[in-house]
Structure formats: structure tokens, C-alpha cells
Amino acid sequence: MQESTNPPFAGLSSAEIGEIHSEMSHYEDKSAVSIEALKIVQKHRGWVSDDSLVAVAELLAIAPAQLEGVATFYNLIYRQPVGKTVIHVCNSVTCWMLGAEQVRERLCRHLNVELGEMSQDGEYTILPIVCLGACDHAPVAMVGDQLILDLADNTVKQIFGE
């Protein structure tokens, strides 16, 4: 696959384009990397802007509207800016039963944000997430890539070490 840094891919960095191209070799069809491509852009920029989305669509030779349909479908693709670290608090049944709502409220209060808002310093965003597959340690949250188990009264300390 030939790499290009000319328009219409000018919105993407050469690193992003290189990573997207290397993923293409694993699939029969380059449009199959659409989700991975959005994740690559998000890894570099924190979120997927309209311009980035159009650039990825051009690179994959699919309609921007089609890619938008994909981007808005998946929970882990962010179409709005988020904090440097996203805190996902599980809201599924076992976590709910064991106090996930209180955990989420404590975190929101600590950062002075509503669910989905970015903290004023741009560091954090709290989002709900469905079952993280650790129900034996409920309630749980994922801070960035890190799973935090058995959240309880000292949730803030467990997550922020304060």
C-alpha cells in the first residue's frame, strides 16, 4: 500500500496514515479497518473531529456519511473532545446492585463535573460503560486502560490516590 501525505489525506499525520495502512494487510477489504482507523486517530488526538473523520473516509475510499455511521455506533469512539484520561464507570447490573451510582456521584463531585463533561483542567472525563467483565469485584471502573476493582467508600482515593 503506497503512503501518501498529499491532500485529501492532509488532515492525517504520516504516523497515523502508516498505522492505518499496516492494519489494512490483515483484511480482504481496506474499508474493514474503519473502526481501527478511527481508534488510531483517536489515540493520537484524543477524539475524532469532523475533519479527521473526512480524512479517514478519503483514505479508506468510503463515504464520510458511512464512516460517520460507524463512528457514532461504537461506544469507545469519541466524537467530542474528552479529557486526557477517560474514567469509565460500569453501570451494569452487579455493579449497580453494589453501589455503582454512588461511586459515579463521588467521582463527579470530586472533579466537579457532570457525566460526560470534561474536567476544567482537561484531565478527565467520566463516562458510563456496560459490564467490564469483573462482576466478582463489583463495583468497578476503568481509568484509561487500567481496571480498578472493588470500588467502595474510598473510591476517590482508589482512583486518584488522594
Binding site: I77, T94, L132, C135, D136
Partner: protein, 430 residues
């Protein structure tokens, strides 16, 4: 060896390395399959073992493999494209079994993948992993490198004519991706909406090619069947179903967790012996036997064996085998609301009953809980369980969503009525 799936999972190490895996006979099942058996013989071994899919549906795994159209000696194309896809999109609330296998013993899964791919003559396998399983992705990627370096994956596996590429695909979060055909759309880079059936994936799946989709735990059973044989595997079950299974329990039990136990282990043994019974001050009120999309059962069902058919006969499904326990101080109506909110959010919106019916269900439940309910609402909810039931929707998401609701209306009707008559619940949760 009565716990083959978890034999390598030890408290004193984070996961089983390749050396650890080889020490307990790892990759010997693969060697037996590739060196001594034809692909159709491998299919037959797995079929005869009685292994049923551990993702929830419980279809005979070997039988599924045997539905893939295999090339005949006279066929012009002796090597048609086939795919194997591993369903590692564990997002069913209350289910946490595949995570253990993925993180703690990745080579067991890889060996199962290569044997399964050999059995159906797939040249490429995709591990479809939910995006949140970062640690699993890291360990699988490392294990894949090790397996490639040692000739267990890649070109001419164990010096045979069989070659297999395995690619790790990390998804981006959506429950419907666990549905077989929706998963295939996601792998093709599309919205994960289900596909019409027929054709079934085994005939026309990924990019229109024959594709087998197997759950992580299902594939982890395969190396042991190929190493120790069909009769050994069949002897592991305690009831009608064969082998062992990862059973789990979560909620207000003393020791929530996962245990590898023989198929057919009574539910009472799981809750009382392994999970240690209820926490002090709490009584068992009911349980979902196999994840969020199964019907509630009651304490009177504790002696039901965890077998696909036995749990079905009791009025629910074994599903993923991970019990969610309802205690006497958690409101069943609020619990059902939590479950229905999940299903409404995660509906892909492809078919109208699911797209519109699930939010309507949520609205009615909220109305009841917030004191705006009427007795007729219970009839409407009961009607929705039929309208969103099997046969009326494109896939099993909405029928699954209706299972906890329909059983809650049956067993906990008094709780619904108490809300409607006096706005009362048992206790606030938390």
C-alpha cells in the same frame, strides 16, 4: 486434570507463559490433530465429545464445524477461503468468564483456535476482542508472537501443509457485536447490525465466505479433547451435558467468583459451597442463572443442575453460566429497570420492535418506580414481552431482554403492584 480449563491458572503467577503451558502438555492436542487426524476426523472427535458452545446458545460445536462446506478431492478449488472467528466480545452484564481465560492462559485459546481452524480448513482466524480488554489484548499479542516463533501459528504449522494467520481485532464497544452475524459486520468495518439468516455464517459469513464463529471458552475446551480423547471428555460431565464449565456468581454472596466445575453441577452447590452463600444479613430471593438475558429463577430451583436442558426445563437458560444473585434487599423492579436500560441503550436499532419496544419498556418501568404507574402498565409490559419475544425481531437481543422482565412479572408481581398502589419499594440499593 479434572479442571482442564483452569489447570494453568495459579495464584502465584499473573498468567501462564508458553513454558508453563508446554509443561502441562500444551500444544499436544494440536500435534495429535495435525499429525494423526484428517480435518473431518477432528470435527467428528469434537462432535462426539458433546462439547456445546459456551457463548450461551449451546449448539454442538463439532456439528457446527461439520456444516462448513469442505472441498472434495474432485473440486477445482481444493483450498477455498474459510474463516474462523473467535467471539471474545464479552459484554453481557454479569458475565466475566472469558476474561479469565484470555488474561490467564492465552496459549490455551491459541491452541484451540489452530485446531478449530485445521478442522474447518480456515487459512485466517480473527480474534474479535472487546475494546475494553486491554490486558487480554496485550497478553494475547505476546502469546501470538511466541506461538509464531515456535511454529504453532503461521506457515507450515508443526512442519505440516497447514498454515494459519491469526489476527487480533480489538473492537470499539457495542453489545450487539457479540451476536454472530453482527460481529461479522463489525469485522468488515461496518455498523454491527445483524444479518438475515439464512444463509448461516458457516456457509456465507465473513466477506461471503464460510465462517465459523466460536466463543472463547468453547475453543479453550478443544485442545484437551484432542489430547485426552472423547471418552475422557464425556466422563467429565455430571449430567446430560459433557465436560466442565466456568460457572460464576456475583451479587451479595460471600465469595463472588468463578469456578471450573463439571457440567450438571447443581446451582445450590455453586451458590452455597463455592460462593459461600449469602452475605450476613441478606437472604436469597432469586437469581439469573446465566447473565442478564436469562429468566429469573427462585430458591426453589436451587437443586436444578447447570445443564442446558435442565435449566431450560426450569424456565430459564443456562446462558453463560454466570449467576447474578438477587438478594432480599435489592428491589427486583429496579433491577429489571437497570437491565432494560442496558438493552435499550445497546439495541442496534435495526428492527422496529427492538428499537422502539425497549425504550418503551424502560419508560413504563420508570413510570412505575417513580409513582406514575397504573395496573394496566403491567399488561402492557406483559404484551411487550410477547411482541419483543422470539420470532418477532431480527436477532436475539430483544427476546433476551424480555427474559428477566417476563420472569420478574411472574415471580415478583407483588413488588410491581406495591409501587403502583403506594409508591413503595423494598429498600434503596447501595
Amino acid at each position: 486434570m479434572d479442571r482442564p480449563l483452569t489447570q494453568n491458572i495459579k495464584a502465584d503467577r499473573p498468567f501462564a507463559s508458553l513454558a508453563d503451558y508446554l509443561q502441562t502438555g500444551g500444544y499436544q492436542g494440536l500435534a495429535n490433530a495435525i499429525k494423526n487426524l484428517q480435518p473431518k476426523e477432528v470435527q467428528q472427535w469434537v462432535k462426539d465429545s458433546g462439547l456445546r458452545g459456551r457463548g450461551g446458545a449451546g449448539f454442538n460445536t463439532g456439528l457446527k464445524w461439520s456444516l462448513v462446506p469442505m472441498p472434495e478431492p474432485n473440486d477445482a478449488d481444493r483450498n477455498p477461503t474459510h474463516y474462523l472467528v473467535v467471539n471474545g466480545d464479552e459484554m453481557e452484564p454479569g458475565t466475566f468468564k472469558d476474561r479469565l481465560l484470555l488474561e490467564k492462559d492465552p496459549h490455551q485459546l491459541l491452541e484451540g483456535i489452530v485446531i478449530a481452524a485445521y478442522a474447518i480448513q480456515a487459512q485466517t482466524a480473527y480474534i474479535f476482542l472487546r475494546g475494553e480488554y486491554h490486558l487480554a489484548a496485550e497478553r494475547l499479542a505476546h502469546a501470538l508472537e511466541e506461538a509464531r516463533a515456535q511454529g504453532y501459528v503461521g506457515e507450515h504449522i508443526l512442519h505440516s501443509d497447514f498454515s494459519l494467520r491469526i489476527h487480533l481485532h480489538s473492537s470499539a464497544g457495542r453489545y450487539i457485536c457479540g451476536e454472530e452475524s453482527a460481529l461479522l459486520n463489525a469485522l468488515e468495518g461496518k455498523r454491527a447490525t445483524p444479518r438475515p439468516k439464512p444463509p448461516f455464517a458457516v456457509v456465507s459469513g465473513l466477506w461471503g465466505k464460510p465462517t465459523v464463529v466460536n466463543n472463547v471458552e468453547t475453543l479453550c475446551n478443544v485442545p484437551h479433547i484432542l489430547r485426552y480423547g472423547v471418552e475422557w471428555y464425556r466422563s467429565l460431565g455430571r449430567g446430560a451435558d459433557k465436560g466442565t464449565k466456568l460457572f460464576g456468581a456475583s451479587g451479595r454472596v460471600r465469595r463472588p467468583g468463578l469456578w471450573e466445575l463439571p457440567m450438571g453441577t447443581p446451582i445450590r452447590e455453586i451458590i452455597e459451597d463455592h460462593a459461600g452463600g449469602m452475605r450476613d444479613g441478606y437472604q436469597l430471593r432469586g437469581f439469573l442463572p446465566g447473565g442478564a438475558s436469562t429468566d429469573f429463577l427462585l430458591p426453589e430451583h436451587l437443586d436444578v443442575p447447570m445443564d442446558y436442558d435442565a435449566v431450560t426445563k426450569a424456565g430459564s437458560r443456562m446462558g453463560t453460566g454466570t449467576l447474578i444473585v438477587l438478594d432480599d434487599q435489592t428491589c427486583p423492579v429496579q433491577m429489571v429497570l437497570n437491565l432494560e436500560q442496558f438493552f435499550a441503550q445497546e439495541s442496534c436499532g435495526w428492527c422496529t420492535p427492538c428499537r422502539d419496544g425497549l425504550p418503551w419498556t424502560v419508560t413504563l418501568l420508570k413510570d412505575i418506580i417513580e409513582g406514575r404507574g397504573r395496573l394496566e402498565d403491567l399488561d402492557t409490559l406483559a404484551g411487550l414481552t410477547r411482541m419483543l419475544g422470539p420470532g418477532n425481531t431480527f436477532c436475539a437481543l430483544a427476546p433476551g431482554a424480555m427474559e428477566p422482565l417476563q420472569s420478574a412479572l411472574k415471580y415478583f408481581r407483588a413488588d410491581f403492584e406495591r409501587y403502583i398502589s403506594c409508591g413503595n419499594t423494598i429498600l434503596e440499593t447501595g
